[in-house]
Symmetry: C2
Subunit: 469 residues, 2 copies
């Protein structure tokens, strides 16, 4: 039968491939069996009136894939192969991003969202055009593991000037977002033997907490008082690493005092291999007074790892975070983590220009004004609740922390609002251990709403809640 | 003294900031001490002939940073703070990428390099311009965690058509390069309790091996015979995960036979939580016959994780890898790893167009022809060595495996060539355990050299070696 392979000389597939496919299918469908002998290449070529090479090519391919094997001075034989049925992968509903605006809500008070209506699109377009234009072919090669040097230099300048971070291009490591950098740190900081112990402010950026847990760390939540993370409890926890957000506690928005900062730095300096991870998220957006200088800038013992990102201040579309490593960790990173950079070189080039040409600073200043207006507008709208609520975490960031003193349950409040087309986010999701008798508290984001939407959204929420009473 | 703060009304810094900085420095320099009382805001305002608000603003800032604190009905007092000296981060020489061409060599036979001289730059520019132009603002928001849907759809189509991978957009996860995806997998596959056991072909992609080791896995090297990874040894190893490169063993270039594939799939199906990671690197570049279909396409038990990247076929400047997850792992990923995507949305958009407009296929076909010519040229040039060498791993990928039968040492050979301006890469670096009496073997890459360079480079190497005898 194999001598009767139907060949279609009009077909797009070359003849050798038709022969290959035919025989392969015969084998897979059981038309040809283990140890069956194939016709000689010459014989088949004659039978099909085609060139010997064509058949050889088909046989080679079948042999290279292991369907047939050549037995010297005898010919080609079918190999033993198991059953090869296909199965379509199960369909699963795709994930949706919490970060982009959810149009299914009329009012989305998402604290993770940002305002991109005022992004300098034309500038961005122009820069990106310039970066790709001309003979800049080098940009299409893989770049420096740590991130492209001029990009790191631009970041170093910015961090030094605006955040008081003590760093050079050499001490900066670029990565695809803080999420990725935290995974890197979890690997970098893991002790040679035994398990790592890390402390987090409670509440905190829960994804950071989970990341370290997943890497086998014993992760503890430490209470936060008015000055910042509790030193007493931190010491009691036995942790050697502390993940903190000093300039703007996430999500509460409190500022770590200088006293607490110096105590924390002293704690880190006490023992070798104690480190502080300073996540300086949202540091660009402070609406009263000057930005709070970084903790890292106060560190004289090289124990602070400084972490930041461009996704809030520029756009989350770009996955570009950065960290400043102390010399010891930098050595370890260089020795063990020399993987290709995870950040697109095009984005690195565009961001570099965006920063060095001054657009970044301009944009941040512009957004600060816009966000301040929205922040003030939200504060004003919330007054409607009078003494039923307590607002904290003002004057910075992209959300306010609002305690609803008269509400029985955070979850019910959120659910109720959701039914009315208002999307709210609760504080509970940020707790490692939820403190007893905590008041229902919302993190009300204002970045991605107009002032009109903020006002009417909050008023609608008020009506919704007061309707109950 | 504090009443005599020098104010410069011409200065760019606002007055409140000058006051803030002055007092802050006094505190930091010890000019003001713990418990020192500051003048009242009103008093200072009068003394400096400025508005009360300006002083309040400065005091607020100092208080919010914890330099001073307000004692009700008494005034502002300096807080206790430790010593705050700075230390400049130690300078360390920056890392260099192995992937880009090293100009310090006259001939760089880097097997990791690719040829970007023939990249369709203008097409890329055009597409990127279109992606950014117009009102496509949505692109500046953060996208889907798993990767943008249309990007995953384009990849699914391609993988299904050209690699026989059974997948849908829903089962594909995008990540910043295979390095990152392997880190994700190491987390995803870690057993609930106990340590994970993973087997690698020996030799293998050593970075994958190290990654799993770093995640606490017990990683074993399994010998590779002519058909592929040794099943007997794999079973003996007690591993539940196998990392393999079936269509083109890395770095040896052998092809796993269908028999071995079915045996491997049967092994995986035997036990729950057994998985195979199929790294399909370089699958686009096969110079004889058709591409070898993927192992994943033969898998009827949903145990194969398919891994691929665009950095070799398009450009390493883009950090875009993809993996196809079996339903069980996809559920786990959705439940626990819903982090922001690590791939730039701009690159995702550009690549999507690049693929759907047919440029990707055209480019790959073009590069296949170019690489084949270089491959053949290298083979030809190597003939000069006659029986002193043995060449394997032909007809695919971007390097040849060359055993130097008469050379005493791989390292010496590489070092000697290096002195003569020829950069060579040895096989030893890819071994988990180096087998006894192994022959000095080089992985000679040809992608980033012209045919002239290949020929003269190899001839020069020949002269260098024969000169010794």
């Amino acid at each position: 039968m194999i001598l009767a392979i139907p060949l279609d000389t009009e077909a797009s597939a070359p003849l050798y491939e038709q022969i290959y496919s035919y025989i392969k299918n015969e084998i897979r469908n059981g038309g040809l069996h283990y140890k069956d002998r194939l016709p000689s290449a010459r014989g088949l070529a004659q039978a099909l009136q085609i060139s010997r090479n064509t058949v050889d090519l088909a046989y080679d391919q079948l042999a290279s894939e292991g369907y047939i094997e050549s037995v010297p001075r005898s010919g080609y034989y079918v190999c033993r192969i198991g059953n090869l049925t296909h199965l379509n992968a199960e369909r699963i509903v795709p994930a949706r991003s919490v970060l982009s605006r959810d149009e299914t809500y009329r009012y989305d008070f998402n604290p993770f969202a940002i305002d991109i209506a005022n992004f300098p699109y034309s500038v961005w377009r122009k820069i990106s055009r310039n970066c790709l234009s001309g003979e800049n072919h080098e940009l299409f090669l893989s770049g420096d593991w740590q991130g492209d040097r001029n990009f790191r230099e631009a970041i170093a300048k910015y961090l030094h000037a605006s955040r008081g971070v003590s760093c050079t291009a050499d001490t900066i490591v670029i990565g695809a977002g803080t999420g990725y950098l935290l995974q890197l740190l979890a690997q970098l900081l893991r002790p040679r033997e035994g398990i790592g112990r890390i402390a987090f402010e409670n509440p905190t950026y829960i994804k950071a907490y989970r990341t370290f847990q997943r890497f086998g760390y014993e992760a503890k939540g430490i209470p936060v008082d008015a000055e910042g993370i509790s030193l007493r409890e931190l010491i009691a926890s036995g942790a050697s690493i502390a993940y903190v957000t000093p300039s703007h506690q996430y999500p509460l928005g409190t500022i770590m005092t200088v006293r607490r900062r110096t105590d924390l730095l002293a704690w880190a300096a006490e023992e070798p291999d104690r480190y502080i991870i300073e996540d300086d998220h949202d540091s660009e957006f402070r609406y009263k007074g000057k930005p709070i200088p970084s903790l890292q800038g106060m560190d004289s013992a090289n124990r602070v790892i400084y972490l930041g990102t461009f996704s809030r201040a520029v756009t989350p579309a770009i996955r570009a975070g950065y960290m400043v490593l102390p010399p010891e960790l930098l050595k370890r990173y260089r020795a063990e983590f020399a993987y290709s950079s995870t950040v697109s070189r095009f984005d690195q080039a565009i961001l570099t220009e965006f920063i060095t040409q001054g657009h970044f600073e301009r944009h941040v200043n512009k957004m600060r004004t816009i966000y301040k207006a929205k922040h003030d507008c939200l504060q004003k709208a919330l007054k409607r609740f009078g003494n039923d609520i307590r607002v904290t975490g003002e004057h910075a960031g992209l959300h306010l922390v609002v305690e609803f003193l008269k509400e029985p349950s955070e979850e019910e409040l959120i659910e109720k609002a959701e039914k009315a087309g208002i999307r709210l986010f609760g504080l509970n999701a940020h707790y490692i251990e939820k403190p007893e008798n905590s008041v229902p508290t919302l993190l009300i984001g204002f970045a991605n709403l107009t002032e009109e939407e903020i006002t009417s959204g909050i008023h609608r929420l008020y009506d919704l809640i007061s309707a109950k009473e």
